[in-house]
């Protein structure tokens, strides 16, 4: 393909090809601090192709595909090219990764112990991880937590943090402008702006930790804490995993062990500061 880049994020290497220069240039800028992966054999190929022949030039429209594709994925505009590349990498992981149990969760680490947060899109798990990542925790990732099926450890996948809507202003107030990607308005999930993880998150992206607390956050409600039983946690995590079924017995054993070992709580919170106070408090009590 005309423009390409190889990126190494956590345990996975991606070869990204694009018909346009813009998404690749943006990736190169935002991933500049990541290790140089050019000339490596990639685990996955991601392709950003014109949705139709003329759509390379006229009202450019990106079709995201690669080794593993979704035939009915909706095309995206070139203005959202960076998002398309990120979605392409996530898609390859979700459909093709087998070396860990993938949990659709954010995670942060302190003292070698890991806090895992999972929930639907909009639950606040990304924002919470991003905020904690600026305040004494190491950000491990906002999209996938990788559960090692042999050791039970959680490994990081610290790609760019995808901030949505009101979370954008919250993080703009916390970090320097060069760590932010371009503002993308009018995506399928509203406004999106990416955040480059801190240098420690990138430097230690090969380093796992033992899971110590599982949270199911919910943004926009009065402060509340509810214990979550092992059965419920198990069911919710199977739904939050893209490769649980594919991993068969190994995945079942790993997840059983996870919910047996790790205390779980559902938390509601009205705003970011309240959430952080609540998380720190639960961490003191439980982890």
């Amino acid at each position: 393909m005309t423009h390409s880049l190889t990126l190494n994020i956590g345990p996975a290497t991606f070869r990204i090809g694009s018909a346009w220069s813009q998404p690749i240039a943006q990736l190169a800028r935002l991933y500049a601090a990541y290790p140089d992966a050019s000339g490596r054999v990639a685990d996955f190929t991601v392709r950003l192709e014109p949705a139709a022949f003329l759509r390379r030039w006229v009202r450019s429209s990106i079709f995201i595909t690669g080794d593993h594709g979704l035939a009915d994925a909706a095309p995206m505009s070139l203005a959202h090219g960076l998002l398309a590349a990120e979605m392409g990498m996530n898609l390859q992981m979700a459909l093709g990764w087998r070396r860990h149990l993938l949990l659709h969760a954010s995670s942060v680490e302190k003292d070698g112990r890991v806090l895992v947060m999972t929930g639907e899109s909009g639950s606040g798990k990304s924002t919470l991880a991003a905020m904690l990542g600026e305040r004494g925790w190491r950000l491990m990732g906002d999209e996938f937590a990788l559960l090692d099926m042999e050791t039970g450890q959680i490994f990081p996948f610290p790609r760019l943090v995808s901030l949505k809507n009101s979370a954008i202003a919250v993080m703009e107030a916390e970090v320097d402008a060069p760590r932010m990607g371009p503002m993308m308005q009018g995506t399928a999930k509203g406004d999106i702006r990416h955040l480059v993880p801190r240098a420690d998150a990138v430097a230690r992206m090969g380093e796992g930790g033992a899971p110590a607390l599982l949270l199911f956050p919910r943004f926009g409600h009065d402060r509340a804490v509810r214990p979550v039983g092992q059965g419920e946690a198990f069911m919710r995590l199977t739904q939050a995993s893209t490769n649980y079924v594919a991993l068969g017995e190994r995945g079942f054993d790993a997840l059983t062990r996870f919910v047996g070992d790790v205390p779980a709580r559902a938390i509601d919170f009205p705003c970011g500061e309240a959430a952080i106070a609540l998380v720190e408090q639960l961490w003191e009590e439980l982890a």
Partner: protein, 346 residues
């Protein structure tokens, strides 16, 4: 051309020694594009591979093992659904190779479950599958009527809870095709497996693979179909002297001499299948014919990013597949209906 790299690696796994990272990327992308990554992984399983390649191969082996298990379970569910009907149920393609533990099944991607049943049992089979939780995929009445009137299979069904497709065939080529294989003979000669399901006889298995690839399809996934034919021929040819003579006999009987012969020529040239030439009782040699070269270009139409190339040629093969399936007036009517509904060839 990365599909060529893939063919070389499948044919001779030692050819991967000394590939650089860019070539490995091309090879892996082409193998994934052609759904041959599992097959390639099996071929390379006991080789020393670069550190970055080894986990990709291990993943592909795991995935293939899981697919085979899932496919055999699905076949077993179909067996259970149809067991009271007392109808012969013949497994076809990937599931059959896996069920019979044939080399063609090793690492093979297995998608839908394909079965062959006698045409007169279709209604009963359809009702039994329905009762056991399968349902229609295509709600379009034109498609449904078209399948029932002209195709070699029922419209595809999918299982409600397991989300797996089943194709119920009553013969191996559309009824509109110029060749008319004898489906009853395919079922009569089928070989029973321990659980009561059947698979085609060796000769018929190759005939079906060739018919499916060259007399019906547009050669999408052609390298994989051709690898099936190569693997089947290697295994059956080694087990049975003059396998090729009986293969040509059966091919002639079913009107499939042209696709079978072409499939063997292509398999011999691309994969090095150990075919046997004859001058008596029939003359068969494996030199490429002029138009075989077009087939080879079509089969190898994939680049180092896993993208399909040669768009025009692919379209020509798409048109050819329809031309083979239907007489011209019917083809015109069919294409017009599809065009009005906004269908585009992939």
């Amino acid at each position: 051309m990365s599909a060529r790299l893939l063919v070389c690696a499948l044919r001779d796994p030692t050819s991967v020694e000394g590939l650089d990272a860019a070539q490995w990327n091309s090879l892996i992308a082409a193998a994934r594009g052609e759904r041959l990554i599992g097959t390639l992984a099996v071929r390379m399983a006991d080789r020393a591979l670069p550190d970055a390649v080894q986990p990709i191969v291990t993943d592909a082996l795991d995935e293939a093992a899981r697919e085979a298990k899932q496919a055999l379970w699905e076949a077993d569910r179909a067996r259970a659904a149809l067991k009271d009907l007392d109808v012969p149920v013949v497994l076809l393609k990937g599931t059959a190779y896996a069920a019979a533990d044939l080399r063609a099944g090793q690492g093979r991607f297995i998608g839908d479950l394909d079965i062959l049943v006698p045409r007169e049992s279709l209604d009963a089979v359809e009702a039994a599958l329905f009762a056991a939780g399968w349902e229609w995929v295509k709600p379009d009445p034109y498609d449904d009527a078209y399948y029932r009137q002209w195709m070699h299979e029922l419209p595809p069904m999918i299982h409600k809870t397991r989300d797996r497709m089943i194709d119920v065939h009553h013969t191996i080529l559309p009824l509109t095709a110029r060749q008319t294989p004898d489906a009853a003979a395919l079922i009569t000669d089928a070989v029973p497996l321990p659980d009561g399901l059947l698979i085609l006889s060796p000769e018929h298995m190759v005939c079906h693979a060739a018919a499916h690839m060259l007399a019906d399809g547009d050669l999408a996934g052609g390298l994989r179909n051709l690898w099936d034919i190569h693997s089947l021929c290697c295994e059956f040819g080694a087990a049975q002297e003059d396998f090729y003579i009986s293969l040509f006999e059966e091919a002639a009987y079913h009107g499939l001499l042209v696709p079978v012969w072409r499939a063997l020529r292509l398999a011999y040239h691309l994969y090095g299948t150990p075919v046997k030439a004859y001058s008596s009782p029939i003359t068969v040699d494996y030199r490429l014919k002029q138009c075989d070269r077009l087939f080879i270009v079509r089969l190898l139409a994939r680049d180092g990013w896993g993208r399909e190339t040669h768009k025009l040629l692919r379209f020509a093969f798409f048109v050819r597949s329809h031309w083979l399936r239907m007489p011209p007036a019917m083809l015109a009517r069919h294409l017009f209906t599809k065009w009005r509904k906004g269908h585009r060839p992939a």
